[in-house]
């Protein structure tokens, strides 16, 4: 290894000279302790290096070793259920090796090099193969079948392929390339994190990605392969929502990045997910997740790298033909890491001290989401849906990270502090949030959920919008001054808010609602409204109906018993017809 010499140490940033031959984004090892770093600036033979570990104790004159390889991740069976730091060091192994506190200079294999996997070939000797082709399969977990692919760029004729138990380092196939050279293929491959993996072509997202969260699925759905952001002040429910999505999203694999946030939130995931069951398969949710934890107290440069590490792992599974949901909590901490390094590089600061390239970095990250046609045989489609939490200072949406994110993502779930204070969760503001996927996925709703679903959704939204205006009015003139028609709107929209939009993540049943159940619930509320409208029902009598309690408890009806909601539909009609009678009696 060639080496240079340190001339400056300033927090996570190091400068070294005599670095001839170094390339941008190459990994280096810093100091006697071989701390991991990455070249982020070059000026003749002087390099600026961001160091992924605490730099305390490093001094001028210490060596810097070039590795000649860009920052890369190791890909192969064993990723699922792992928990890594921002540069894919396995936290479990680190704990076993150095104890409960992370010390520096530890290195560990990202994937277990000794574990044997049962490899079942899909190709045979003599087949022509090229990058992306599925060579064979490995059962990685009960939920995930790992498709072992030919690394991108490799091409030739299969000279040999083996069936049986192998480690990720064993040769499972040998390829003879055009120029006659032989290439050995292992289950493990490496890929540089800052470079998107190749695809055949991008496809427009046309299906919704259901999450079991009523306000999202019904009103602001995200598409499979789409992008969404959740900005909000602290305590408004970003993390709980990200956890909810990780739990209930209809994705085959989940990559969860805890980027510069709390340690205990990662522990929570580690405790909860093995216990929770996937609603479809009944298997533990842990069996489909890859976790990255670079918490707020861990080195800031590794936080910067963590989202790239995460998305590269997601792309690898996408290439197998899977649908992946990736959550990053929080992208603001990533942007702040970028800002800190940029500040130490003494770059020209832009808005709020963020570097001028913040916007393009944000865009490049979200561009790696999408629905695609994967390279290689057989033909297959994969998708990555990306959901980023954003933590603007003081909850102020004019924050540069929020603004740059809104420029690229298609769904905006806007969290509002006031709703959180009233413990109305999810605290998503139904008046300002939006989804730009509605047009793309409308057909899907008509076809797969119900023909009148979109109509119900639109009517509900209209009621909620009218409510906002009416409330303004009530604030000015008092409740008695508005018509009974308007009071019915207030009653039904309150129902929509409290009995439909409000959803308690901590409640064992309420935490997840299937689309079918969402449809039935919504239909009942709108039915209430229509029936009451039909007969111009008296507001006081409506308010005192016992059926209101049944409507409020729809959310607690178990999925298996959702037929009860169909019965409730009839009961609502009946109860309201009773109201007319009452009114007539009174008259």
């Amino acid at each position: 290894m060639k080496n240079g010499r340190i001339i400056r140490v300033s927090g996570p940033l190091i400068e070294a000279c005599e670095m001839k031959g170094a390339r941008m984004f190459d990994v280096v090892k810093v100091g006697e302790e071989h701390l991991l770093g990455e070249i982020i600036g070059l000026d003749r033979d002087k390099a600026s290096i961001q160091v992924y570990e605490e730099t305390e104790g490093i001094g001028v004159g210490e060596p810097v070793y070039l590795t000649g390889e860009p920052l890369s991740v190791t890909l192969g069976p064993g990723l699922i259920e792992s928990i890594y730091d921002g540069i894919q060091r396995p936290l479990k192994i680190i704990q076993e090796e150095v104890g409960d506190f992370i010390t520096r200079g530890v290195s560990a294999n990202a994937l277990d090099p000794e574990k044997k996997w049962e490899f079942i070939p899909e190709k045979k000797k003599g087949d022509r193969i090229s990058g992306g082709d599925i060579l064979g399969r490995v059962k990685e977990t009960v939920l995930v079948e790992h498709r072992v692919m030919v690394p991108p760029g490799v091409e030739g004729v299969l000279k040999e392929i083996k069936k049986g138990k192998y480690t990720i380092k064993d040769t499972i196939a040998v390829i003879k390339s055009k120029n006659g050279k032989e290439e050995k293929i292992q289950m493990e491959q490496r890929w540089p994190v800052r470079k998107p993996r190749p695809i055949k072509r991008r496809l427009p997202p046309t299906e919704p990605l259901f999450t079991g969260q009523r306000i999202i699925d019904t009103f602001f759905p995200i598409a499979r392969g789409g992008t969404a952001c959740i900005p909000g002040p602290f305590g408004s429910g970003k993390t709980v929502m990200q956890h909810q999505l990780a739990k209930w999203t209809e994705a085959e694999i989940v990559v969860y990045i805890g980027c510069g946030e709390r340690g205990n939130e990662m522990t929570d995931v580690l405790n909860e997910f093995p216990r929770l069951k996937d609603p479809k398969s009944g298997e533990p949710l842990m069996k489909r997740i890859v976790l990255l934890a670079n918490t707020s107290n861990m080195p800031v440069a590794a936080r910067e790298a963590s989202i790239y590490t995460g998305i590269t792992i997601a792309e690898y599974f996408r290439d197998m033909g899977y649908s992946i949901a990736l959550m990053a909590d929080s992208t603001s901490r990533w942007a702040e890491a970028l800002r800190e390094i940029s500040g130490r590089l003494e770059e020209m600061p832009g808005e709020e001290g963020y570097p001028a390239y913040l916007g393009s970095n944000v865009a490049q990250f979200y561009e790696r989401a999408g629905k695609v046609e994967c390279i290689g045989e057989p033909d297959r489609e994969g998708a990555i849906s990306v959901i980023g939490a954003v933590s603007p200072p003081g909850g102020d949406l004019s924050d540069p990270v929020v603004q740059n994110t809104l420029r690229v993502v298609k769904v905006f779930w806007s969290l509002k502090a006031e709703l959180a204070y009233a413990r109305h969760f999810p605290a998503i503001d139904w008046l300002t949030s939006y989804s730009l996927y509605l047009d793309n996925i409308r057909d899907y709703f008509d076809r797969e959920i119900a023909e009148d679903f979109i109509k119900l959704e639109q009517e509900a939204m209209r009621l909620l919008e009218e409510e906002a205006e009416l409330q303004e009015m009530v604030r000015l003139v008092g409740i008695d001054a508005i018509s009974s028609k308007e009071r019915r709107i207030l009653l039904v929209s309150r129902m929509l808010r409290e009995d439909y939009l409000h959803q308690n993540a901590m409640h064992e049943i309420d935490t997840y609602t299937s689309m079918k159940k969402q449809y039935l619930m919504l239909k009942n509320i709108i039915n209430f409204y229509h029936e009451a409208e039909e007969i111009d029902a008296d507001i006081k009598s409506l308010e005192n109906l016992d059926i209101l309690t049944d409507i409020a408890r729809m959310k607690y009806v178990e999925e298996e018993k959702k037929e009860k909601l169909v019965e409730l539909y009839e009961a609502i009609s009946k109860a309201i017809s009773g109201v007319t009678a009452k009114r007539e009696e009174e008259q």
């Binding site: 001094g59 704990q95 200072p393």
Partner: protein, 487 residues
Amino acid sequence: MKVEYKAVSDIAGPLLFVEGVSGVKYGELCSIILPDGEVRTGKVLEVHQDKAMIQVFEGTRGIDIPESTIVFHGKTIELPLSPDILGRVFDGLGKTIDGKPPILPDKRADINGSPINPYAREYPDEFIQTGISTIDGLNPLVRGQKLPFFSGSGLPHNRLAAQVARQARVLGTEEEFSVVFAAMGITFEEAEFFHSDFERTGALERVVMFLNLANDPTIERLSTPRAALTAAEYLAFDLEMHVLVILTDMTNYCEALREISAARKEVPGRRGYPGYLYTDLASVYERAGRIKNRKGSITLMPVLSMPEDDKTHPIPDLTGYITEGQIIFSRSLERKGVSPPIDVLPSLSRLKDKGIGEGKTREDHADLYNQLYAVYSKGKEAAELAVILGEAALTDIDKIYLKFVDAFEEEYVSQGEYENRSIEETLELGWKLLSMLPKRELKRVRDEFIDKYYSRYRKEASGEGGDLKNPIASDRLEKKETKKKER
């Protein structure tokens, strides 16, 4: 290895620049020896070729450029530790200042600590009864949590912190908390208040104090919480104690950080605080917690005063982004005579969910606090409306909500400084207040709990809206009336 230099080239605020040095390490500890023999402590903030930038904890005043000597120690700042630290008082750098002999250390630990591996953490889920309803009932604290007080100058945050230190118990255990108390830039009187409270309750031998008072060097405020947490880690993870750490006032800490940043001419972030304030605060706050297979725990209660009572100021804002909730003090409640003046709605405990419920507090706890929050917040809306339109313009049900607000603030939020309510008492008080409302307003509570608890306080009269006949509500009404008359 010690190396000496006489090479101070420049001084800027609390920073010292030395030239012609070699082998100096980033972050290392050094001593600055003044011509009169005075020794100050410094930390290397940056090394560049043969130059080093040093932050001087005691300040740079009186340092003479050609005549001062710098000694580099080749290691970082360490705290000497042994069980004897209990009952002792230290300064912000960990030197004893109580006139007793120095600590004979069993070990020394770098005050910066190392991050806890997230994989090694144990999720905090053991309920701590503080005896304070707004905390226990609505924002429960658990062992290993970091829960700050966001307060304002002149509000009784220190008294509440002392009350928590006095009353905190884990149900079912008789174990008492050890307390690590760190003062940053507070007055002598404020520190003395804690000291005498600890003394009076006989807690002193379980307390370690780190004091950096208002007239002590400001830069030392940067090492004070780190020294305190190093002591706490030792007590918790080496000696297996349950430790409650009180850090007051974190605003002064942040100001010291801003001073350094300004002296370094860094690009300032919001309101002049450095862009890395979040990361820096996290390196302090995240040291709280529990670790798998270790008995002790660190529960952290930072206190900070919000400049201009503004919750969006970077100090409370970034703190709230790191801590596991916040207890917010309100000046308007204080004016109203509510004490402690805790603003319930924006307060939050993020770790409550797994620390409460059956076998921990009581089965109905979660539903109950959700309902209390919903009702109180709706009541506050009604109160706003009443201010604009007059009470008469409210619907009947809104009038009940309005009454709830008063009753809630008066009976539930308000409580004496020495009043130690059991969790049972707090929960029952909640139901009693909820019974002011008709059953169908309580959408956040399971039916079974309505039957079991709510019904004790209220027999629903045929589901009709005859709310004012409710015994407790009318009882309260009378009380209010007589009170008004008394005035």
